[in-house]
């Protein structure tokens, strides 16, 4: 399984990966991107099974990337890992095709529940 972690913070990417390993996904291949533009490049470079997206990022943020992907008909499983957890944000994420939204701070159990929602 190849996972793409998209967050402008290198520290947060490492914490997400550490948490995913603790959640039982240590065998996954982890790719990283620092914003939406880098994520698009990573998508072109290899098959991604699931993308975890931050919401607030410079250049191309997570929700704008998700909405562009939907408009372009790009089929890729993704969910948000973000501090943006209001009902309004959840509705917008779902409308853009997100399979889950995990709030920061998160636990391995929250990641397991999210992956189950994504059918992984």
């Amino acid at each position: 399984m190849k996972l793409l972690i998209v967050d402008d913070s290198k520290v947060m990417r490492s914490i997400i990966i550490r948490t995913l390993k603790a959640a039982g996904y240590g065998d996954a291949v982890f790719a990283e991107a620092g914003n939406g533009i880098e994520a698009l490049k990573a998508m072109r470079e290899g098959a991604i099974d699931l993308m975890l997206l931050d919401w607030n990022m410079p250049d191309l943020n997570g929700i704008d990337l998700a909405e562009k992907m939907k408009a372009a008909g790009i089929k890729l499983k993704f969910g948000f890992v973000t501090t943006e957890t209001s009902d309004e944000m959840r509705k917008r994420a779902t409308a853009a095709g997100a399979l889950f939204l995990v709030g920061k701070p998160f636990t391995p159990e929250a990641m397991q529940a999210a992956f189950a929602q994504a059918g992984l």
Binding site: S9, V11, M12, I15, M57, P105
Partner: protein, 147 residues
């Protein structure tokens, strides 16, 4: 007008320090602004306008960052400390945001470090502030609000 109090500000920071750093925060003394300081800030826009600021001595920011990354403080590059401290500000702001009225958005983090610093928040005033300490390291959390 926000109804967030200093107690709720402390609770928000405590939630993050406990869950991400495994550090319990308690009421503490005001950090001396004379030495090298780190300040992390997140702006809030939308139905409620303001900012969340966390500030502490750079030595404390380094220790907090090391705990977040589960590594030794001495091994961290300055960029890693800035990155981690910005994320801590972001996480605290996320907790505060959930208590604010209406639809709001958070900015990406801004982190500065230096001596004898204060941030000017434009038309914002200090809404509430709390001085905390975790494992002997001081931390001040401030909520700014625009009238």
């Amino acid at each position: 007008m926000t109804t967030i109090t200093a107690t709720e500000l402390a609770r928000s920071a405590g939630t993050i320090w406990s869950s991400m750093l495994n550090i319990d925060l308690a009421p503490g003394a005001i950090a001396s602004p004379d030495g090298q300081m780190h300040i992390g800030c997140i702006n809030i826009s939308g139905a409620w306008v303001g900012a969340v600021e966390i500030a502490c001595p750079t030595s404390a920011a380094r220790e907090f960052s090391a705990r977040m990354l589960q590594t030794d403080a001495a091994s961290l590059a300055e960029g890693d400390v800035n990155d981690a401290f910005g994320e801590l500000a972001n996480l605290v702001a996320g907790q505060i945001k959930s208590q604010l009225p209406g639809s709001t958005q958070l900015s990406v983090p801004m982190v500065v470090n230096g001596q004898q610093m204060t941030l000017s928040m434009g038309r914002c005033r200090v809404a509430c502030r709390t001085d905390l300490a975790g494992e002997g390291h001081p931390l001040t959390v401030t909520l700014y609000a625009q009238d």
